[in-house]
């Protein structure tokens, strides 16, 4: 799919939408809680993927993660009414990712989602809530500390430990390398 996209085949966007459109919309709606705004964000994100596909490098990350990051970031910017400056440091070298045929990606997506949901569900409430406020709410650590009425240090360690637990869970199940 990525190769078709890079060649500028518009049907690749249709395939991408058919696979991830509902999830992308689910993500945008989770953040914005408003249908029209969520659809705008999803549309912008797909067009952005299309426009920048030539620069996409599959060895540095998956098309799926790229798409969802765009959806998430645009939705957060819209929610917070400003364009946030984001880190551009290249961490992709930490992301070895096997290339698998598109059809397997579809199969794998369902399996991965179940496991990711399970791993997330197993986090203690305060850790999960902290990750949610950061990722789906776009709040900074300081804002989260004040919302949750806990010291900043607690928020920072909940973030770190929550992510570490997710990672351990997903690595044990082969979802993450």
């Amino acid at each position: 799919m990525a190769a078709r996209l890079k060649r500028g085949e518009t049907t690749a966007i249709e395939s991408l939408y058919d696979r991830y459109g509902r999830l992308a919309y689910g993500l945008a709606f989770r953040i914005l809680n408003e249908r029209g705004a969520a659809e705008d964000v999803v549309q912008d994100a797909f067009v952005s993927v299309w426009r920048n596909a030539a620069g996409f490098d599959a060895s540095r990350g998956s098309l799926r993660n790229w798409l969802f990051s765009i959806v998430r970031n645009r939705a957060i910017d819209r929610l917070r009414g400003s364009t946030r400056i984001r880190s551009e440091i290249d961490l992709a070298d930490a992301e070895p990712r096997a290339q698998v045929p598109d059809a397997w990606e579809a199969v794998a997506l369902d399996l991965e989602r179940k496991q990711i949901q399970e791993g997330f569900g197993e986090l203690p409430d305060p850790q999960r809530r902290t990750l949610e406020l950061a990722y789906f709410g776009g709040y900074t650590h300081v804002e989260i500390a004040s919302r949750m009425h806990v010291p900043l240090g607690t928020v920072k360690s909940r973030m770190r430990i929550g992510l570490e637990k997710m990672r351990t869970f997903l690595t044990a199940r082969g979802v993450m390398a």
């Binding site: 999830l23 659809e39 999803v42 880190s87 930490a94 059809a103 399996l111 997330f120 929550g162 993450m176």
Partner: protein, 243 residues
């Protein structure tokens, strides 16, 4: 603004990965990561974990015309040529599935397939295939996943008239206690269990029944016992429709 210490960076990496730092603090962490390989590696792992979070969300139900609007917007938008920022835009070579051309040369490595084939009464057909472009059978070659099963190979010979195939794989990662290799045929994205093997040697020779023209992919996973659906990523997977 003093340089950030490792201890300070350590404390902020979770928030950094979640993009939950105010801008100035984020830039200070970035500064640290440029020179500290250890924390760069940890930040990368945390960041990759963060990228899993969208998948905790359930599918939404966008209006049906969203797809149309996107397709129209895309058709009206020229795709940009690769920007200079894109380092090495070559897509990593996919594990290509090539039609087998060197069966004879490698047949000794796949002797196990011949044994299975003989047991099925189709040994003669393999011999036939050595000398002829198969009319009634087709052979596919697969390579193991570069990370999970480097060096693994498999051959799948499909006897069209019998609707039967033989799989021979070699060099698979060794199993640990309780694990099995599970073979799958994939039809329209849905894997169908095609049996297991618990070979201790990393070699498999097994028959595979079914009309392969119905399936688009073949895969092998390592599972904790036979599963109805795969629970892990394939160590070897490839297309059946190559030719």
């Amino acid at each position: 603004m003093t340089a950030m210490s490792c201890a300070e960076a350590e404390d902020l990496l979770g928030a950094y990965a979640l993009e939950a730092l105010p801008e100035d603090e984020m830039h200070r962490v970035e500064e640290h990561l440029r020179t500290c390989a250890e924390h760069r590696a940890i930040a990368g792992e945390l960041r990759r974990t963060t990228l899993m979070l969208p998948l905790t969300v359930e599918d939404g139900d966008p209006s049906p015309d969203l797809r149309t609007r996107i397709v129209e917007a895309v058709k009206a938008t020229p795709a940009q040529p690769a920007a200079p920022r894109a380092r090495g835009t070559t897509v990593a070579p996919r594990r290509q599935i090539s039609r087998l051309s060197t069966w004879a040369a490698r047949s000794s490595r796949f002797a196990v397939a011949a044994v299975v084939a003989l047991a099925l009464g189709i040994g003669g057909l393999i011999g036939y295939q050595l000398g002829h472009a198969g009319q009634t059978q087709v052979t596919y070659a697969f390579l193991g996943d570069a990370t999970a099963a480097p060096g693994a190979e498999a051959r799948l010979v499909y006897f069209k008239d019998r609707k039967q195939a033989v799989v021979a794989a070699t060099g698979l990662p060794r199993l640990t206690s309780g694990q099995v290799y599970e073979m799958w045929l994939i039809k329209d994205g849905v894997p169908v269990d095609k049996g297991i093997s618990s070979s201790p040697t990393g070699d498999i020779g097994a028959p595979l029944s079914g009309d392969l023209s119905q399936f688009q992919q073949f895969a092998i996973t390592i599972e904790p016992g036979e599963q109805q659906l795969p629970t892990t990523k394939p160590i070897l997977v490839g297309n059946l429709q190559a030719g």
